[in-house]
């Protein structure tokens, strides 16, 4: 999950040590919907996968994102 956390830390004002699987992407990390689009793009590039628009709405926490990546990469 560290790679996911590193990406999210780059996009937010949150240090990696303050991000964990329960961190909420919007409410805790402060990602706007537009930031989320860039984060998704970064995930796709880093993990070589495609995340559909429909699947984005199910990614609420860092843990959700990590689980999705593990299952689809």
């Amino acid at each position: 999950m560290n790679e996911v956390i590193e990406i999210l830390s780059d996009f937010t004002e949150t240090a990696p040590e303050n991000i964990n699987g329960d961190s909420r992407l919007v409410e805790d990390l402060g990602l706007t919907s537009l930031d989320l689009l860039d984060v998704i793009t970064a995930f796709e590039d880093r993990f070589d996968l495609q995340i559909s628009d429909d699947d984005i709405k199910d990614l609420h926490t860092v843990g959700d994102a990590w689980t999705y990546i593990q299952e689809n990469a």
Partner: protein, 176 residues
């Protein structure tokens, strides 16, 4: 009826923020509590503005609740509202029909993100692309739909406005 309130949000001291949160809790608001202090401060500022505006407009403070997807609303719908904030700017929209608002700083678009959000002629440059994004986010909030559902829709239903303020686009909409 349509009221748009735009405001700058200054950082608060811990004591003052705690007082605000206590007040909002007592008023029964259902704001999101964030571990991120800036977000918490901005969210509290938006809810304070909403509650004070409702009170000064003669509304008794309604019971607030949330839809299953997390959209806050007034039980019984005596009034509709939408709030948005970003980087020290806040916006509150109050209306007599369902409404939505979004505010986003104008930004450089990652080409791949822009390609994903390839909405016709509306995205000729970064500024216009940001404006179109806020229009769509506002529409999604109005309809309580995930943004993905309207990302590539060719036309949006409702009455819309957009304005630029302090390097940000603000778009709002209301039901027809």
């Amino acid at each position: 009826m349509l009221k748009l309130l735009l405001f700058s949000i200054e950082p608060e001291t811990d004591d003052f923020l705690q007082q605000k949160l206590k007040y909002l809790f007592e008023k029964g608001t259902c704001m999101d509590f964030s571990a991120n202090r800036r977000l918490l401060n901005e969210s509290a500022a938006c809810w304070m503005t909403l509650v004070q505006e409702l009170e000064s407009s003669g509304f008794s403070i309604p019971d607030f609740s949330k839809t299953p997807s997390g959209k806050p609303f007034c039980k019984g719908n005596p009034v509709y509202f939408s709030v948005s904030h970003t980087d020290g700017l806040g916006a509150v929209l109050i209306c007599d029909v369902p409404c939505g608002i979004d505010i986003e700083p104008i930004r450089h678009w990652n080409p791949k993100s822009r390609h994903r959000f390839d909405c016709l002629d509306a995205c000729a440059d970064d500024t216009l692309c940001t404006r179109e994004w806020t229009r769509r986010e506002a529409a999604a909030k109005m309809d309580d739909q995930p943004l993905a559902s309207i990302l590539k829709k060719e036309s949006l239903d409702g009455y819309f406005f957009s304005l630029q303020w302090q390097n940000a686009w603000i778009s709002g909409c209301r039901k027809e």
